[in-house]
Subunit: 209 residues, 2 copies
Amino acid sequence: MPEEPTTPTDPASSTAPAPSARHTELLEAAYGYALEHGLADLSLRPLATAIGSSPRVLMFLFGNKDGLVRALLARARRDELAFLDRLGEHPGPGEDDHRLADTVEHVWSWLAAAEHRPLLRLWAEAYARSLVEPDGAWAGFARATVDDWLAVLASHQPARERDGAAGAADRTVALAVLRGALLDLLATDDQVRTTDAVRRQAALLRGGL
Amino acid sequence: MPEEPTTPTDPASSTAPAPSARHTELLEAAYGYALEHGLADLSLRPLATAIGSSPRVLMFLFGNKDGLVRALLARARRDELAFLDRLGEHPGPGEDDHRLADTVEHVWSWLAAAEHRPLLRLWAEAYARSLVEPDGAWAGFARATVDDWLAVLASHQPARERDGAAGAADRTVALAVLRGALLDLLATDDQVRTTDAVRRQAALLRGGL
DNA sequence: AAGCTACTGAAACAGTCGTGTCAGCGAGGG
DNA sequence: CCCTCGCTGACACGACTGTTTCAGTAGCTT
């Protein structure tokens, strides 16, 4: 009885034990479903019928519901990390004049894009939930994204501004304004005001030093 | 059969139809419960037993679960508005030199206080949920708090900076950095880094103009 | 042909959910 | 005394939850 691939936490090997075509296929379908329905009141039967499967199969492939949610969260995080990695490539070697201001404006153009709205709503939901309920499938999600973003922002700071408390404060304020403006945008859909605000902040960052 | 006080939407009268001592008493108890358990998986039976009541009574006093959640959300918003009102009193008449920077630092000292952590977690949860599920009990929560805060920040801007797109952008960036830093603080509990960031932002706001 | 692996369908399990029903309590006013 | 008003307990209803059991089926390997 093989039962349960469940993608465990690295069995000594470096790569995960082959997600199996069907696994990724259903994960992708479930991800699409989660993007428009949210994760809060996700339940197996409606999801399964929507993606043309059955609760039995989801249990088989993901172990249990927590496994499914964890897989969906990881899937969402992959989208986020994909963008961050593309961001991270940008700074060429030896160049020192990457200002946080440029990065902020660039990141904002991605955050504000209408096609990313579902992903970012899902992100907000997972973030908030992992604050309220630090155990279970959501554990550490908020913390993880903060670290991801701060790391990538650090790589976009000039080397001599990167270290020390001042550098950390600069990254933190850049991240804060991006996330705050994102929350605003998600609630009000006021793209011009929020974009003006981010541009204003970028101007402040360039001016003061 | 009197059944259902349910606090309807203003029956022509200005004030609500007397919340009844028991109503407010149980609401307060339920609010305390929600502050530590969150609203996501709130359910009547555990809540009722925890606060020494019964589902029957909660149904009687709040109509249904949505009514209860709405009442809890309104209760949380009252805490928020109480602070905003105290903030709003500050600017004396005729004074024009209230800079947003001062307000930002003052608000942050309230947001960062450890005793407000449960309220702010609840706030984040309600905010995110109202984004994903714009109907039902959560409807409009995110939008409402954005408007509340922007209004109060506007009252703290010098009169000649208040109007126009530039003024709106200033308020928006102030709100954004506060909320972004709050999200960071809730996730990482790193009070010194987030506070440094807010102070840095206040310095930027004062310096640039 | 046999056997193993990956996957699937149907049905049932026990539990929880919100809600409704029917009755009954104590207190205050006529 | 009785009758209404605000509140409450006990219980059951139907719907839905995650999960399990049992029984497969299709494909590849030996």
